[in-house]
Symmetry: C2
Subunit: 340 residues, 2 copies
Amino acid sequence: MTATKRLGKQTIKLQYPPSIVSTASIVGKKEGEGPLSKYFDQILEDALWGEKTWEKAESKILRETIIKAVTKASLSLGDIQYVFAGDLLNQCIGSSFGIRELEIPFFGLYGACSTMAESLSLAAMTIDGGFADYVVAATSSHFCSAERQYRFPLEYGGQRPLTSQWTVTGSGAVVLSSKENGPYITHITTGKIVDLGIKDVNNMGAAMAPAAVDTIYTHFEDTGFIPDDYDLIITGDLAQIGKNITEELLQEKGCNISRQYNDCGLKIFDNKKQDTHAGGSGCGCSAVVLAGYLYNELTKGNLNKILFIATGALLSPISSQQGESIPGIAHAVTIQNTLE
Amino acid sequence: MTATKRLGKQTIKLQYPPSIVSTASIVGKKEGEGPLSKYFDQILEDALWGEKTWEKAESKILRETIIKAVTKASLSLGDIQYVFAGDLLNQCIGSSFGIRELEIPFFGLYGACSTMAESLSLAAMTIDGGFADYVVAATSSHFCSAERQYRFPLEYGGQRPLTSQWTVTGSGAVVLSSKENGPYITHITTGKIVDLGIKDVNNMGAAMAPAAVDTIYTHFEDTGFIPDDYDLIITGDLAQIGKNITEELLQEKGCNISRQYNDCGLKIFDNKKQDTHAGGSGCGCSAVVLAGYLYNELTKGNLNKILFIATGALLSPISSQQGESIPGIAHAVTIQNTLE
């Protein structure tokens, strides 16, 4: 069939918008001490959660989060027709070993910290396209496994520059269904890779901001929406520096989002009290803010229409060692309580 | 909408089957000396292809392969609405840096060596669902970047056991369209993770075989097809050991595929002459065999209906060091010249 669901260059408008029927979030101790504490389903006392390694703990967090989300939807794992998931670890072992026992057809993703919006996009398209009735979108990150892999072993006690962000320990999972009555996923703007040449691996927010700007601006161009159509426009994990850049660059393009703009990396921690510098990051950051706080506000009616934009930095330690800059990507998803 | 396109447990039957309108493949020197030589678009003399590192060379191979496939379809990059791609490198930098300059909305995947079937599945669903008219599915691997990352630096000169496989240097890209007249993608069986506890990282074929068996068996259960409905059933990169196990395990379940069964990892090299031990592997293996040999045979009418099953081993060096076994996954795609 011809692509009847396209709007503009990079956006699709879903014809049969799927509903979010449940979400779940499990976070680490530090995230549980932050301002969004009451919205999470479970707060872990111990970053290892009884496992022998941080990587195994991350897989357990993802697995238990998915099981919790499915249970909260009064479904069983056998009802779920696909899982879309990914994480930050080399070869995405957080997801592979997390999903291994679930026996659900699995599409593995890699979008760095954009993964929650990527998984949500593909899960929603899978339902809208008539391929499934129940799909899970999920992701995870873990401070300890990420620090070891991307930067230094924790035991080294490295000094963190003030531009650096704190990788969230946690997982968020969303169950989408063809059958319920919202909140609905209605529009999806899929990002292109944008790389303006930033090489500072301790300043991810700045590296990802141009991708966020590109996707947000294109979203408004494609849909004809204006910022005031949204109660909230929230990026994934740009944190303080990236958020400021995003706002400023959009302003320069004549797009003022400051009234309704926020960032998951700023919501999750109290940066001053919690010593998290620029703010939170990691695939899990936007995932737990969406599955915890944002979903709660949507179902209570405190928010009625939001634009959720998860942002990813597509580097690796090897690409940086080889002198490469940091490519960014951002995917946007519109979530709303009612259908126009 | 309800999921009207489902068949059985794990399969979908596309309602508007997209066509493969062009493919391209670029391979390394060794692959160019193998039995499929004449089917590849370009054979590189040098594994670095003018780049400073193997990782950068892999990105270049992927990028040039995508550009070639798009050009062969008489399209421009701006016509392509999505790229689905992934690779084996940490944080999938083969794809990120390969796709960076193309300015096409990008869904990053990680399915290890199952990526070609994963990208083909999602690209086909995207067209069938009415979300796009032109989509590219692609993947790559590189012997030198993979050896360094997964095993030993090449300079070390490690001894390879006879069960080991040879990672293909190459990339395959497929352009799918809503508009042409075949070969069509008609059925997709998405795999679950299967892990029977194999831990030998030098015997990937054996680790992935149970996942291939699960997906192939489920495909026949779901669709009601029998092996004789296919001219060829071809797995991704199980190579000699994994192929034998797959055939045997399916036989035990009452499913005899020996008449039409082969494996891309066996087709690509002459194992005896080329010293490639059990056979080829890597994301690029099934990708270049599909984009080169299989697509040629389909368009010439030498093959009319094939089941293409790419297989992935979802391990990382860290998961193996932590004592984990090797989870496998396999995704199957039916490609046929005519619609029933």
